[in-house]
């Protein structure tokens, strides 16, 4: 293994052939992933060496589990680094947001339309802006489910999908889909009311 250039290794084959966790290929990949995570997490004071090792081990297991999903569209190590990054960041986000109260979020989310106020910008025509805002408020109140309102509020407040997932017992994917459906409903409502993306961009100087 040490004689070979990283690019020349057929990683999936080498990892499959190893069959045990202590093989040279597995050890080499562990080193590569650990190095990668160190590069992105070394500036974070909340992540120590032990945690880096934990993330690496967890990521390594995931990579080994998903070998069949590697489609060869990128270098193998790039694919594995992406899994490691996802593993580490998901866990770090979970820790950071674990104290968010679902009750408070839900209560606020149910009243999302009331929390929507006009961005202060004296340079623009306030009447037109107020009109757009009113249409949007109406759409939020009438076209979205409570769940979607809570989701939108969470996203706007910077709470990650992973955490919303923890709170609502769904997956990051279905949270994203729910968010997508909500945006589509709002966009459709605005467009039907004659407020195209173009109009909004102009009115709000986006």
């Amino acid at each position: 293994m040490t004689m070979m250039v990283e690019n020349e290794i057929n990683w999936p084959e080498a990892l499959r052939a190893s069959g045990r966790e202590s093989s040279a290929a597995v050890d080499a990949l562990r080193g590569i992933l650990l190095n990668g995570l160190r590069i992105v997490l070394r500036e974070r004071s909340d992540v120590g060496e032990a945690q880096l090792e934990d993330f690496t081990q967890e990521a390594l297991l995931r990579v080994l589990e998903r070998l069949d999903q590697f489609a060869g569209r990128s270098k193998f190590t790039t694919w594995a680094h992406a899994i490691a990054v996802n593993t580490a960041f998901t866990e770090l986000r979970r820790k950071r947001w674990q104290d968010v109260s679902l009750d408070a979020l839900t209560a606020d989310g149910h009243r999302l339309q009331e929390l929507m106020v006009m961005p202060d910008d004296p340079g623009n025509d306030d009447e037109e802006r107020a009109q757009v805002l009113e249409v949007l408020r109406q759409a939020v109140a009438e076209k979205l489910s409570d769940k979607q309102r809570v989701l939108i509020l969470s996203v706007l407040r910077g709470i990650p999908f992973d955490q919303i997932v923890q709170l609502s017992g769904t997956t990051r994917n279905s949270a994203y889909k729910l968010f997508h459906d909500a945006r589509r409903a709002l966009k459709h409502h605005l467009t039907t009311a004659g407020l195209t993306s173009e109009v909004i961009r102009t009115v709000f100087a986006l």
Binding site: I39, T77, T78, F89, V155, R172, H180, L186
Partner: protein
Amino acid sequence: MSALTPEQMEGLFRAIQLTREHEFDCSECQNHLGEFTEKQLAGLPTDEVLARVAHHLSLCPQCSEEFVALEKILRAND
């Protein structure tokens, strides 16, 4: 219970504006993230699939954060 900040309101309008009928979800984005990142770094043109990755990244702070991290790793290992 506090009103949305101007930045959050702007974020809402922007998110609505960027909305498309069909979008990649997080898993679809992550399935192509490695290829996307390599091509970005190499300055290679992206195809339609990778354009959808870019679009998802503009709407998903988490995938976007992971893309930045992956880019940093690949750059350091170059």
